[in-house]
């Protein structure tokens, strides 16, 4: 615990309607109290007080937030005063005369972190918010701070731990003790965690490079094949059937670009699962830095342009160029860069990859340079979950899958620090009646 009390102007410097002077530390209330005629309430409160400034004193609003339920976790007092730089300076001098010192840059946030009021992801969000260059950046940072992201991360982590507990129970105990654990149980948990992590990756405060790119197009236009071709590995399940992709899946294709292969416009708009998938696609679209319109020019029905809710179109990708290299494109595609690609042959893929790299390098999504850690960690955790699922499909032994899950959880723990093995056992024992 620090023993000194700090102060700073919490609003932007310069003249303004109101300025907020924030004081934090063990003596915050005493230091502020020394400037007032009345007493400082020891509880959480908003009170009108009179600052001992000038002949008659200055009426201001005082907010008191006793620790640990405050931003920094210490006693915090805020004075809401008229926004005059001279006045703020004078108040500051008075506070310093009573024992406070000026805060160093970022010190309030640092104290919040030290006292466990913010975790690392949230600290990053604060800095991202301060340095946000666009409304999208700011909203991402806000989402982290509001706890949406934290809650979502916790939920993903909990799902991964649950899945691992199911796997581990089968390894550390004989089947006679646990009963057979249905692999579908942990596989389902993993699939949902993977999708949620994918969606989370784009919600986190961003690094300077890269960003999410949504593949938008009709069902069976070849989005998944395109994804695999760009990734250089079979990241997506591909089939001739319409609507093979139901989950929103993110695939890193290098240069910080994450392709989100959302489901196409599915055949059955009434099926609940399809509706949910499309709702997710809309949500994701709002968060992506841009979209590629993927269409199959050999199919007429595919020529409808993306509907409402699609992010800015970066380019048109015409698939099946091996079969129909010169097929006409729909009128709506006019004015956009066009890439004709053929999936098995890799035709046109290098050019498209170079285009995405340029997009990423140009700062697909601007943001504070140090604030991108969260995104890459979540992306890596997601990749580890995907590796576990891929392993499960090819029959890798469960202890190998557990290794991947351990890796995913470790990565998330780097973002929100915690310790694993005891929690894992907790879950195993909570679920199974174990022991002979």
């Amino acid at each position: 615990m620090r023993d000194d009390t700090i102060w700073a102007q919490a609003t932007a410097p310069g003249e303004s309607e109101r300025a907020v002077v924030r004081v934090s530390g063990p003596d915050a209330f005493a230091v502020v109290g020394a400037q007032l005629d009345g007493a400082v309430p020891a509880r959480r409160a908003a009170v009108d007080v009179r600052l001992r400034i000038g002949a008659h004193g200055l009426p201001v609003l005082l907010l008191t937030m006793p620790g640990p339920r405050s931003f920094t976790g210490e006693d915090v007092a805020e004075l809401h005063v008229p926004g005059s730089p001279r006045l703020v300076q004078r108040i500051g001098m008075a506070l310093e005369a009573s024992g406070a010192r000026p805060a160093a840059p970022g010190e309030f946030v640092r104290r919040a972190w030290e006292h466990g009021r913010l975790d690392l992801a949230e600290v990053e969000a604060v800095f991202a918010l301060i340095h946000a260059e666009s409304a999208a950046d700011a909203s991402r940072a806000l989402r982290t701070l509001r706890g949406d992201v934290g809650a979502e991360l916790d939920a993903c982590r909990a799902a991964l731990l649950d899945a691992r507990a199911l796997l581990e129970a089968g390894l550390d105990f004989e089947a006679g003790e646990t009963g057979e654990v249905d692999p579908a149980a942990w596989r389902g948990l993993l699939e949902r965690a993977r999708d949620r992590l994918g969606a989370l990756a784009v919600q986190l405060p961003r690094g300077r490079r890269g960003g999410g790119v949504l593949l938008w197009g009709a069902a069976n236009a070849g989005k998944s094949s395109l994804c695999n071709a760009l990734a250089g590995r079979p990241a997506m399940l591909v089939s001739d059937r319409h609507g093979t992709t139901r989950d929103v899946v993110g695939v890193e294709v290098g240069d910080g670009v994450v392709l989100f292969d959302a489901p196409g416009d599915l055949v059955d708009p009434d099926a609940a699962v399809d509706r949910a998938a499309l709702a997710q696609r809309r949500e994701l679209g709002a968060l992506c830095a841009g979209a590629l319109w993927v269409l199959d020019p050999t199919v007429e029905a595919a020529h409808a342009p993306p509907g409402v809710g699609a992010p800015a179109l970066l380019a048109v990708v015409a698939t099946h160029a091996d079969l129909a290299p010169l097929a006409p494109l729909p009128a709506a595609a006019a004015g956009l860069p066009v890439f004709r690609v053929g999936s098995p042959s890799g035709l046109g893929i290098p050019a498209l990859r170079a285009f995405l790299a340029r997009f990423a390098g140009a700062g697909g999504a601007p943001g504070h340079a140090e604030a991108g850690r969260g995104e890459s960690i979540v992306g890596a955790a997601r990749a580890a979950v995907e590796a576990a699922l891929a392993g499960a499909r090819t029959g890798a032994p469960p202890e190998a899958l557990a290794l991947e899950l351990g890796d995913a959880i470790d990565r998330l723990d780097g973002l929100r620090a915690r310790s694993v093995p005891e929690e894992l056992l907790e879950r195993i024992f909570g679920r199974f009646c174990l022991g002979k």
Partner: protein, 624 residues
């Protein structure tokens, strides 16, 4: 002796931990005394008559590889052998054996009796005289016995099991004691508290023992041993043993009704037991009360020996009153007319809060004092024996002024267990699980000798012939892996074939034999491969099937060892590191880790704390 010492090492206790500790110390050349309440109880199995199991079997193999005796005694006393998890990967397979309780006891006692430099002393240790060491620290000077004798020694190993402050319970009955019919060690617990050591309380329990002739086997499911049985010890060539069967039955709604009706008479539920019991080995009361939705629990009827009348019903440990035990067992199929020979009971005992331990099992504040087994908060014969071995080794090394042997988490389950104990006080009796070992794929039961025998050789617990055997085995495995990589069939190497989940080593060898009988190079390979010992086959399979993962784990091990190699100077000022989390700072100040690796593993120290620590260390170094 030089007059100031009667012995180099005194071991207090002769159970699984004590016997291994005493044998190891004496074999390393230390004049060793083993103080026991009852000399006939050396290596006695207080609980179930089985050794091994998943993760525990790994420990037994490690004990064997490092020069201990548990595996050899199990091979000599085993009456049923099974390899567990055979349908899972090679890293989580583990051996388990039912033992003849009396025979195991005799085997271990015989080894202790025959060991040169090892003296068995019958008596009760009541006090640890402590003096000042050369430095400022206090140092143990030996052990004082209840009859007034004093055994002077520079190193003492405590292996008190359930005896330290032991108290037995069954229904409303309770009494001091360490085991059925044996008194506890109350004075010693007082003495340890007097030294300022912090103790916690744990609980465990046993089921009633049944007369084998009163069981109706016709109604039960039989569980056979493996054919052929695989030995525990790397030194046992082949097991020639007529195996006995275990039998399976189940509790039912009637059993659970009896338990629920009388649960208030269980000392656990009546609040008279304060110690924490293991969740993985719950009493029947716990199973019924905590998992009310389960309508049946498995019960394994395990014979306690060839000549013994006693059968151990594994799964119904209970401290309900004797008359309730009588009622509840008879609700179980096959046990309708069963005769109880001894009733079940619970035992509560003291243990040392483990943040007082060091990685060599030295008790931090008292030079020369070591502890192993249940006194360190663990449960299980295997966990105890493994620690006993390490504590015995380190006590002998301490007495000779040699640096301690510390096993890290990448070396062994033993290393994982001791590191876990040093980091966190176990909230329940600590049992080994494979999921505790982050380098699980590297720590296989089958390669314990490749991992640890070279260390045993180095410290003097293994002879040259044995070390050479392990080196030859290593070479055979390496050659076999290389061969499988080199030989191709249908455009693919045999290793690739073996990497397929459904293909086993034996399938690959079979395929070779059919295609190329006897003469060509492949034929020679086939006969070489077919000649590998079961351990070696499992190792070849593991090396090939896990290849990619093993490489990854080796990288992680390198990182771990690099962190462990980053020493923190003893005078380093943790308080001056800015930005540490509150809990992290407290833990670092309390523990004063000597390496970044140790700091990383402390509970409450976050990855961010470690980064700050690294930065501060970097600054400290550049200033120096």
């Amino acid at each position: 002796m030089d007059g100031t010492r009667d012995f180099d090492v005194v071991v207090v206790g002769g159970g699984h931990a004590g016997a291994e500790a005493a044998l190891a110390a004496a074999r390393l050349g230390a004049a060793t005394a083993c103080v026991v309440l009852d000399p006939a109880a050396i290596g006695r199995m207080s609980c179930n008559p089985a050794i091994g199991g998943i993760a525990k079997g790994h420990l037994v193999r490690e004990i064997d590889a490092l020069g201990g005796e548990m595996a050899a005694c199990t091979d000599a006393a085993g009456i049923q052998f099974r390899m567990l998890n055979t349908r899972k990967g090679p890293a989580v397979r583990a051996p388990r054996a039912q033992c003849d309780r009396a025979l195991y006891n005799r085997e271990m006692a015989a080894r202790v009796a025959a060991c040169p430099r090892l003296t068995l002393v019958a008596g009760e240790a009541v006090e640890l005289p402590v003096g000042r060491a050369a430095g400022a620290a206090r140092a143990v000077r030996g052990v004082r016995l209840a009859d007034g004798r004093e055994l002077a020694a520079p190193a003492v190993v405590l292996t008190t099991g359930t005896f330290l402050g032991g108290r037995l319970f069954a229904g409303e009955w309770e009494a001091d004691g360490g085991r059925h019919g044996e008194r506890g060690a109350t004075a010693l617990a007082r003495a340890l508290r007097g030294l300022g050591l912090r103790l916690g309380r744990h609980k465990t329990g046993t089921p009633p023992r049944l007369h084998r002739d009163s069981i109706d086997y016709a109604r039960l499911e039989e569980q056979l041993g493996d054919d052929p049985p695989r030995p525990f010890s790397f030194r046992t060539g082949r097991l020639d043993v007529a195996q006995v069967s275990c039998w399976l039955t189940r509790t039912n709604a009637r059993t659970h009704a009896v338990v629920a009706r009388h649960a208030h008479r269980s000392p656990m539920y009546a609040g008279r037991i304060v110690g924490v019991g293991p969740r993985y080995c719950p009493s029947l009361e716990d199973k019924v009360m905590r998992f009310a939705d389960r309508d049946a629990h498995l019960v394994f009827l395990e014979p306690e020996g060839r000549a013994s009348d006693e059968v151990y019903p594994n799964g119904i440990s209970t401290s309900l009153p004797p008359e309730v035990q009588e009622e509840l067992v008879r609700t179980i199929p096959g046990l309708e007319d069963v005769r109880i020979l001894r009733h079940g009971y619970a035992v509560e005992y003291d243990y040392l809060l483990t943040d007082q331990l060091r990685a060599d099992l030295h008790v931090a504040d008292v030079a020369g004092l070591f502890a192993a087994g249940q006194i360190n908060g663990t449960s299980g014969y295997e966990e105890a024996a493994a620690q006993g071995l390490v504590a015995g080794i380190n006590a002998a090394r301490f007495a000779r002024g040699e640096p301690p042997l510390v096993l890290d988490r990448a070396s062994s389950y033993l290393g994982v267990m001791i590191d876990d104990l040093c980091r966190v006080n176990p909230s329940e009796p600590y049992r080994m699980f494979t999921s505790r070992a982050e380098f699980r794929l590297l720590l296989r039961a089958d390669n314990a000798d490749r991992r640890l025998t070279p260390i045993a050789r180095e410290i003097g617990l293994c002879d040259a012939a044995r070390a050479a055997d392990v080196a030859r085995k290593e070479a055979r495995i390496g050659a076999a892996v290389a061969r499988l990589e080199a030989i191709r069939r249908d455009g693919r190497s045999l290793a690739e074939l073996l990497r397929r989940p459904e293909v086993t080593f034996d399938d690959v060898v079979d395929a070779l034999g059919v295609d190329a009988p006897g003469v060509d190079p492949c034929g020679a390979a086939a006969s070489d491969l077919a000649g590998l010992h079961a351990d070696e086959r499992a190792e070849v399979e593991a090396e090939i099937k896990y290849a990619g993962y093993i490489a990854r784990q080796h990288q992680q091990v390198e990182r771990l060892r690099a962190m462990d190699a980053r020493r923190i100077p003893a005078e380093f000022d943790f308080a001056a590191v800015v930005g540490l989390s509150n809990e992290g700072r407290e833990r670092l100040l309390a523990r004063r880790p000597l390496s970044v690796g140790e700091a990383t593993r402390l509970a409450g120290v976050t990855p961010a704390d470690v980064n700050l620590l690294l930065v501060a260390l970097g600054r400290a170094v550049s200033r120096a």
